[in-house]
Amino acid sequence: MTAWLNPAHKSINNHSDTHPGSHSGNHPQLPAPYPRKPVSLWYAVYFPQLTESGKLLENTMRLQQLAELIAELSARISLAPPDGIVFEVRSSLRYFGGIRNIRSRLQLLLEQQLQSWGLDPHFFQSAAPTATSSLLLARSGANLLVYQPASLRSALGRLPLDLLPISAKEKRQLRQTGLLYLRDVWRLPGASLRQRFGEQLVDYLDRCLGKKVEPLRVHEPLPIFSIRHELEYPVEYADRLLPLVQELLTRFGDYLRERELCTTHFLLHLEHEAQASSLIEMNMRRPERCESHLLMLLENRINSLMLDAPVTAVTLEAKYFEAFIAHSENLLAGQGDSPINATRSSLLDLLELLQARLGNSAVQVLQVFAEYCPEHASAQIIHGDNLHKKFHKDADHLLEVIGSLRPRPCWLLDEPESLLEKSGQIYLQTSHTSTMLNIISEAEQIETRWWAGSDVRRDYYVATDNNGRTFWVFYSLSHTRGWYLHGIF
């Protein structure tokens, strides 16, 4: 009980001008409507600089990030958008060794963060037994600490009514009645107040004083799963890590199941003695929580991993989760799940497996473009990059154009290969032989890309050699004059 003998309120900043000590003795005779047990102490922080940028979304993100920092100090955090955060500190007072320690720690955390955004590092703070009142005090710029619920009335009394989160009309109404400060309102009987100014104001004041339950939305930090396991001795071969990885994945699977979550993305850090840790990034095609599937995908990656240095510790980390939805394929088997869909899904499983082991870029799809220049008309795109989808709108027209072209070769060389021209004949040269080519078609002229700086003026022909091979060759009329081999039929 000695805690209650402390001065009723004191300034956190110890500035005597913010110390409304004279009010403390005003209502000693008030019956205490509050239970004599440790009440909560809400700490409010107010960042006027946050709303200055005017970007709502960015602002919300920043407020959440600040809340993540505060999570170190309190387990009950509530956001007061757009510019405030309240959190409960009574339960952690003893742990941190008093409000002053909390305050200096908070100052350190938040100032750093605000500075990193290039914002003014100053912010306002107050602590009071109710969240609403502490937020109001902080927003008033008071930097007050009010321990006792009984002293709230006097502490709040000096605040101008303009600060209350009420409509301009109500504020005008209050002003016209001659009420300027909260203490003016305290003097009025509650019933007439309710009649004259409405439920909202009275409810708000009741919440300030703790007479009414405050509806608070406790901020839930974004779930992060991270477990680290240090190895007893450094491991040199990646496949030796598998049992440990399996154990980590089992715990990960349990975590996901307990929360009805699944994930499409997780990371495995392999830490080394004296160099940066290697990172395995797993991206899955569909949300997954079954550890045996995750293990299979990861196993493929680990088995093909070459370790630069022995591994000393392994961390499994996941930040992005999705709600788990059970697959209902069997239920709807009659409608949507045609055999083609089923084979499609087993194909996608295969492609996912290949990409997991060989890297995303190993599996590619072909894409055609409306380009006259042959090497720009076709491209290989990494499977899963949805880039190719957006070109499909003119697909029919493109198909028509391609169908009207002369036959194109099945294979295109990476780069046109230059051919040898000797006394009116062209020869394909390999390391030790040269093969004569016979042109068997008319010229097909392709002139394009002058706008791209690479002037393409070519006459394409079909040519054969004596070994039964058929080639696509061209004679370049631009500055790279000469004969080239470009494709193989």
């Binding site: 060989l358 091979r469 193989i488």
Partner: protein, 230 residues
């Protein structure tokens, strides 16, 4: 009625042996009538799109599952053998996976052949030999991937046997392109492909059956590559 039934039962008994033999021959591709040297064994395969080629193959087309080795010099147009089947797969919305192709497949040519690009998946050739083999085995084991084309160079018999088993378990067709003939290969079919020899026969391929499960006729035919455009 009863007599009728008895009678028919008898009849059935008489032909039972022959019927079950036919049924067995139909069912089991590993059984064939050696003496007759017919080319009729096992269930029908996939139409190759070249009627003359279908005529010399025991499955009246490509085998429905297993390995096919196409042995030829490089770049003589051997891919054209597969163009019709690639087209019919893509019409059925079924995919094909190309593993380690020797050059870049040229998208306009595939479109001209009627092959939809979204059903063609390519596994890059710049991966290691072991990983290429692993990819091939996994692809062959995947039922959703009915045709796998692979350019792997020389393979030995244990590897081929393993791939043949993978193709059987996935009920898929794996086509391997390479340059040299391996005797005693466990593949379902080995074809030797040469450019058409007759003068003026540009654009044709001479296809010879080196070995086919279910037949020991070494037949050959000439197909025209222009035929796959139709």
């Amino acid at each position: 009625m009863r007599e009728d039934k008895l009678f028919s039962d008898k009849n059935h008994d008489l032909s039972f042996k022959e019927q079950s033999l036919e049924a067995l021959l139909q069912k089991n591709p590993a059984l064939w009538k050696g003496a007759k040297q017919t080319i009729n064994a096992g269930p029908d395969g996939i139409r190759s799109g070249y009627p003359t080629l279908d005529a010399i193959l025991p499955w009246k087309g490509w085998p429905g599952q297993g390995l096919v080795e196409i042995i030829s010099a490089r770049d003589i147009g051997e891919l054209h053998l597969l163009m019709p089947v690639l087209r019919s797969l893509s019409q059925q919305q079924l995919p094909s996976v190309w593993i380690a192709p020797p050059h870049i497949p040229y998208a306009p040519a595939l479109l001209q052949a009627g092959i939809a690009l979204e059903h063609v998946f390519i596994v890059q050739s710049d991966i290691s030999w072991r990983q290429t083999l692993w990819s091939l085995e996994k692809a062959l084991q995947t039922a959703g991937c009915p045709l796998v084309l692979a350019w792997l160079g020389q393979l030995n018999i244990p590897v081929l046997r393993r791939l043949q088993l993978a193709a059987q378990s996935g009920q898929t067709l794996g086509v391997l392109f390479h340059q040299r003939h391996i005797s005693n290969s466990p593949s379902a079919l080995q074809l030797a492909v040469q450019p058409g020899k007759l003068p003026g026969s540009h654009g044709s391929l001479e296809v010879r059956v080196l070995r086919a499960r279910g037949s020991h006729c070494q037949l050959s035919t000439v197909i025209s590559m222009a035929g796959d455009q139709s």
